[in-house]
Symmetry: C2
Subunit: 157 residues, 2 copies
C-alpha cells in the first residue's frame, strides 16, 4: 500500500504544471477523466469512465470520454491497454521535453485484480527492435503487455 491520496494529488499537480507550461487545456472533463484513472491503479474501460462522468453531469455521450482519452494519451498522461481495450493513468512523469511521448512503457496486467503495473523500459534494444532491424522494419509504436498474476494475487492463491 501507498499513500494513494498523495499519489493522486502529486500526479494531478504534475499534469497541471505540464499543461500550464505547454499551453495545453486541461478542461474539466479531461481533468476528471485523468483523476478517475488515477484513483484506480487499474485499467478502466471507456464506458466505465463514461458512467462516472454521467453521474457527475460531465457528459453522457461516448465522444466525451473518447475525446478526453485521446487528449490524455496524446500527451502521455494515459496509456491504452490493448489487451483489455481499456485505459490506465501513466505512472511515469514523462517530462515531455519536446511535448511528446518520451517513454516506452510495458505493462504487467493481473488477470484477477486487473491492477496494472507500468514498468520502466530498460535501455537498449529489445526483441522487437532486434527483429525489426533485421527485417528492415521501422517501428513507430510498440505494445508490450503481459497478462498473469500479480504478487499479491499469487500470495492469496
Amino acid at each position: 500500500m501507498h499513500d494513494h491520496a498523495a499519489c493522486i494529488a502529486r500526479a494531478m499537480a504534475r499534469a497541471d504544471a505540464r499543461c500550464g507550461a505547454e499551453g495545453l487545456q486541461l478542461t474539466p472533463a479531461r481533468r476528471r477523466v485523468l483523476e478517475i484513472l488515477l484513483e484506480e491503479h487499474r485499467a478502466l474501460g471507456a464506458y466505465d469512465i463514461l458512467d462516472r462522468l454521467r453521474a457527475e453531469g460531465l457528459g453522457s455521450q461516448p465522444p466525451i470520454v473518447y475525446r478526453a482519452l485521446d487528449f490524455l494519451m496524446k500527451h502521455g498522461f494515459v496509456h491504452r491497454i490493448e489487451t483489455l481495450n481499456a485505459f490506465v493513468a501513466c505512472t511515469e512523469p514523462t517530462p515531455g521535453d519536446r511535448g511528446d511521448i518520451a517513454h516506452m512503457p510495458a505493462f504487467l496486467i493481473c488477470r484477477t485484480c486487473r491492477h496494472v503495473i507500468e514498468t520502466v523500459a530498460e535501455r537498449g534494444p529489445g526483441k522487437l527492435e532486434t527483429a525489426a532491424d533485421s527485417a528492415g522494419f521501422a517501428i513507430e509504436h510498440a505494445v508490450r503487455e503481459a497478462e498473469g498474476l500479480c504478487a499479491a494475487c499469487r500470495a492469496a492463491a
Copy 2:
C-alpha cells in the same frame, strides 16, 4: 515474394497432420478459416473472414467465425493481433509437444499494407520478463506488437 501457393499448401498439410496426430477435428469451417488467413500474410478482422464464409455458404453468423478462431488460436494455428482486433495465421510450425502453444511470437505490423511479420522469439528473458521477475509477477501470456512501416512500404515512400 515467395511461392505462396506452396506456402499455403505446406501450412495446411502441417495442420492436417497435427490434427490427425492429436485427435483434433479440423472441420470444414475451421479449415476454411485457416486457409483464408493463410492466403493473406495480413491480419483480417473476424467480420472480413465471416464475409468470405458467407459468400461460400459456410455460415453467416458471427459465432461461426469466432468459434473457428477460438479453436485455431487454442491450438496455435492462428494468433490474435491485439492492436488491430484482427487475426493472422501462424507462420511457425509449433509442433505442440504438449498439445499447447509452444512459442512466444512477436509481430511487426505495417500500418500501410497491414502485412504482419511474425518473428521468432530469441532465447532468454526480454524486458517484460525482467520487469515481471523484479515485481514478483507471474506472466501467463505476453503480447509484443510493433506498428510501423515494412521494408517494402518504406522503399515505396
